[in-house]
Amino acid sequence: MSKTDLNEIVISREFNAPRELVFKVFTEAEHMAHWWGPKGFAMEVARLDLRPGGLFLYCMRSPNGQAMWGRFVYHEIVAPERVVFVNSFSDEQGGITPNPWLPNYPLEVLNTLTLTEQDGKTTFTLKGGPINATEEQINVFNSIRPNMEQGFKGTFDQLDEYLAKIIS
């Protein structure tokens, strides 16, 4: 599997809980079922195999009964501080499917979760970037920020501001 070559998106959050607990809640099926599904969706864990190459396969069922499947493939697990996994939409069998909202882009996202603890609080830092993207997609992600040239005032300025805010 290719490593991501892309600018990554970084999301960080502090939780008022010890690191062991955050790790547990993020890696055990029983806990994932409680919080991973979107609000109002019934979350079912079909499989959670926490080992490198292992699959976490889940189904999110909307209030009107529509099922949406997704999966993680774990790459690296270092309890309780690090989980590297690839997230994508999937079918019931765990086969990768396109993003239902943005069908052109991108199928798989490599996520690196790092947990650090200080004074009983845990900082959850997630870095994510598309992988196995086409060369074009990679070029776009790598070039879009340095190429915010004058000509794109308006659209690109907004995008630049936005990217600067979220990509460190």
Binding site: I11, T155, L159
Partner: protein, 113 residues
């Protein structure tokens, strides 16, 4: 062949073309004349940009002008937006769940260590 906005702006020449015409429509020939490569090569880039919905060529008298349509560039930021929103929502849920869990454990006198 797949044509989308990601492909359109992946190429530096195509980005340069969009830069040139972002503010004002320009004559097709003057855009082509700006580059060292052949006109045919530039026309090919313009064709791709057109197919991706980022460029429109209009005939004005004897001249052909190209005009940028940059609305679709938002598709790039849409993906990032969606990824971010997805995780922010999940982390909100995780936060509540952790609170709930710890409150429950406290009651039971159980300590998570």
């Amino acid at each position: 062949m797949r044509r989308d906005v990601f492909q359109a702006i992946a190429d530096p020449t195509r980005r340069e073309i969009l830069n040139m015409i972002a503010h004002e429509s320009l004559n097709v020939n003057s855009v082509a004349g700006h580059f060292d490569v052949s006109r045919a090569a530039i026309y090919k880039h313009m064709k791709i940009l057109t197919e991706c919905g980022l460029l429109v060529v209009t005939q004005q008298g004897r001249e052909r002008y190209c005009e940028a349509k940059l609305d679709r560039l938002s598709e790039v930021s849409d993906w990032i937006e969606q990824y971010r929103k997805f995780w922010e929502d999940r982390l909100d849920a995780l936060d509540s769940y952790l609170m709930e869990l710890q409150a429950k454990n406290k009651k039971k006198g159980k300590v998570h260590k």
